[in-house]
């Protein structure tokens, strides 16, 4: 027993919270304790926080214009003048990285905003309603799953025109079926839970049950899954960039930087490798974070 608990900690970790706010905070605190006891997850979180900090304040600190070309200084190796070197057009890679972090974050967020709701809605609807709705929605999902994703993504990207936003939309359109499946499996299980029966008994409408009982419970596993897939999505955006359908030059999107840098990879490793490492770090961070979140949210662990 550690008697020397500070007031706040005791307040947070009490078994007898006195208000909904304290209960929610207490739960968050407990989760945080659990999450923070895993150094790898914390490492992931730290990288992400760094990324957010860089996205927020980096552009103020790194004053060099990420678009400014100094052709005479092209392909300068990393050194004192340019910490991360320069690219084919003599742009400073560090400042491009820093400015591009916003785009990378935006991609990550967009995916969550686009994929999670669609997958969640379709999946929970199918799982909860069952019957013909389930059959219908799952058939659609099957078609979408049987589809070569590259065709869909490329087709949408080509149809929408190039650009990060469109690439993300295209990828999201192809990415939802696994989430729908996951959400369906979860809600199939949940729909049989006694507390759902209890809610129905008390007169809760199907819509209420779906939105207030099922969706919140499924969303954590779907979000965790999305976090784990985030790396894949960032890379897929980069991959579309590689095929010319991702970010528009000269925007400092990391995936595009890697893709463009491959032309000089053999002579100037840093042009493609440094943004590649940045992607690696961020996706690693998302993965670690996802692993950690899964530990925290997994129903088997309670809480």
């Amino acid at each position: 027993m550690k008697p020397a608990r500070t007031g706040l900690r005791a307040w947070l970790s009490t078994d007898t919270p006195a208000s909904p706010r304290q209960a929610a905070l207490g739960r968050a605190y407990r989760r945080w304790r659990r999450f923070s006891s895993n150094p790898l997850s914390m490492f992931g979180l730290a990288i992400l926080l760094l990324l957010i900090a860089v996205a927020a304040f980096g552009p103020m600190l790194v004053t060099r214009d990420p678009l400014q070309q100094v052709l005479a200084e092209r392909l300068t190796p990393p050194g004192a003048a340019h910490w991360f070197g320069t690219d084919q057009l003599g742009r400073d890679i560090l400042s491009r990285l820093v400015h591009g972090s916003r785009l990378t974050l935006a991609i990550a967020m967009l995916v969550v905003v686009l994929v999670v709701p669609v997958g969640l809605l379709i999946g929970t609807l199918a799982g909860y309603c069952g019957g013909i709705v389930d059959t219908l929605l799952m058939r659609v999902t099957d078609v979408a799953l049987a589809f070569p994703k590259i065709v869909l993504a490329l087709a949408f990207a080509a149809a929408l025109g190039p650009g990060v936003l469109n690439a993300v939309i295209a990828l999201s359109i192809t990415a939802w079926p696994p989430y729908a499946r996951l959400a369906r499996a979860e809600s199939l299980r949940l729909a049989q839970a006694d507390y759902i029966h209890a809610a129905r008994l008390q007169g809760a409408s199907h819509l209420r049950v779906l939105l207030r009982y099922i969706v919140p419970l499924c969303s954590s596993s779907v979000i965790v899954r999305a976090t784990l897939d985030m790396a894949g999505i960032i890379l897929a955006v980069a991959g579309l960039g590689f095929l010319g359908l991702g970010a528009q030059p000269p925007s400092p999107e990391w995936g595009y930087m890697v893709a463009a840098g491959r032309n000089v990879l053999l002579d100037a490793w840093w042009v493609a490798t440094i943004p590649g490492l940045a992607i690696l770090a961020v996706s690693l961070a998302f993965n670690l974070l996802g692993d950690g979140l899964r530990d925290v949210f997994d129903p088997r662990h309670g809480g």
Binding site: P148, V151, F156, L235
Partner: protein
């Protein structure tokens, strides 16, 4: 008694017929959906297929004639119906880009991808699964950490970066493997195409030099793709195994005095084998269409780059044909894993 069994077996027959009918209907729906979506998306892409066949300097008259010939003047629905009818007759049309019947192109490019995907999946399974099992058994120990790092790296490293670095190291520096392409020009065409897989064909023909050369070409791209399989499979195996190892029947097996190896492989692993097969099938199907970038870097004439090229040139027949083939493979894989479930998982029967 006998009438009951008779009734039951007849009922069983009816049930099987019903299930079969349902299944065929489902297949038809899935396929039509696949076809329709590809078709309409393809037509919506703002690329002019005529440009691909006539070039940008042809006269306006030649252009108009070509549009007419391609049937592009007809309403979209009509075009689709015509195409669907042809497909039903087994005619996938002629590719605009390669001037070959699409079916011939697919016969050439699909085995190339299949060969690559199969080999990488083999490697992935051979390394990833034991790694995942070891990680679960030695939970939170060194092996587990290694497996986790590999698993994370596998989902984080850009494939084209890894591919180019692999070429630089193993091909240009160390000379361990051959470079881009499926085979050296010297050996090209030395064995008859039977399966479409150079490795298999050369074994059938008994041409060991060809086999060696083809193998040294496929080793690196397969290795690069296998890296991703290893990562994914070890990750999934690990989490499946962790779940099984905490089950009561594992305790029972131990209480029976079985050696730990048998507890792990016969009991726990026996229970994840089927879901693992599903995951492997998923990873495999992902490789079947997801290896475009690898194909480009390794100049591998596979269906991924074929499809991409076709898409970017509005070569609709080629796009639709390859989509159908890939979709059919996916569906077949799905059905196969379903069937495996039924056969190997007693609870699903």
């Amino acid at each position: 008694m006998s009438t009951v069994t008779l009734n039951r077996s007849r009922l069983g027959g009816v049930l099987i017929a019903l299930a079969l009918a349902r299944w065929i209907a489902m297949l038809a729906v899935t396929f039509t959906g696949l076809l329709a979506i590809t078709f309409f998306i393809g037509r919506k892409i703002p690329i002019d297929p005529v440009l691909a066949i006539l070039g940008d300097r042809a006269s306006a008259a030649a252009y108009a004639a070509a549009r007419l010939r391609l049937g592009l003047d007809k309403p979209l629905i009509e075009q689709f119906v015509i195409y669907a009818r042809d497909v039903l007759h087994g005619n996938l049309g002629i590719s605009l880009l390669t001037a070959n019947p699409v079916i011939d192109d697919i016969k050439r490019v699909f085995p190339a991808t299949l060969e690559l995907a199969t080999l990488s999946t083999f490697i992935g399974v051979a390394i990833g699964v034991p790694l995942g099992v070891a990680a679960a058994v030695k939970h939170n120990r060194i092996v587990d950490h290694i497996a986790r790092v590999i698993g994370l790296a596998g989902s984080s490293v850009p494939v084209f970066w890894l591919a180019l670095m692999g070429l630089l190291l193993f091909y240009a520096r160390l000379h361990w493997v051959s470079g881009p392409g499926r085979i050296d020009p010297l050996y090209d065409g030395m064995v008859d195409t039977r399966t479409g897989s150079l490795l298999v064909d050369s074994i059938i023909a008994g041409e060991w030099d060809v086999f060696k050369n083809a193998f040294s070409h496929i080793a690196l791209p397969a290795g690069v793709l296998a890296f991703y399989s290893i990562a994914y499979l070890s990750r999934m195996t690990r989490s499946f195994m962790l779940e099984q190892l905490s089950q009561e029947y594992v305790t029972t097996a131990r209480a029976k005095g079985l050696p730990e190896r048998r507890v792990i492989w016969r009991h726990a692993f026996g229970n994840i084998a089927v879901p693992l097969l599903t995951v492997i099938a998923l990873a495999y199907s992902y490789l079947l269409e997801g290896s475009v970038l690898t194909e480009i870097v390794f100049a591998w004439p596979g269906i991924g780059s074929y499809l991409t090229g076709a898409l970017l040139n509005a070569d609709m027949n080629a796009v639709l044909g390859s989509t159908l083939v890939i979709g059919a493979t996916f569906i077949a894989l799905n059905l196969l894993t379903d069937a495996l479930y039924r056969v190997f998982d007693p609870r699903a029967r």
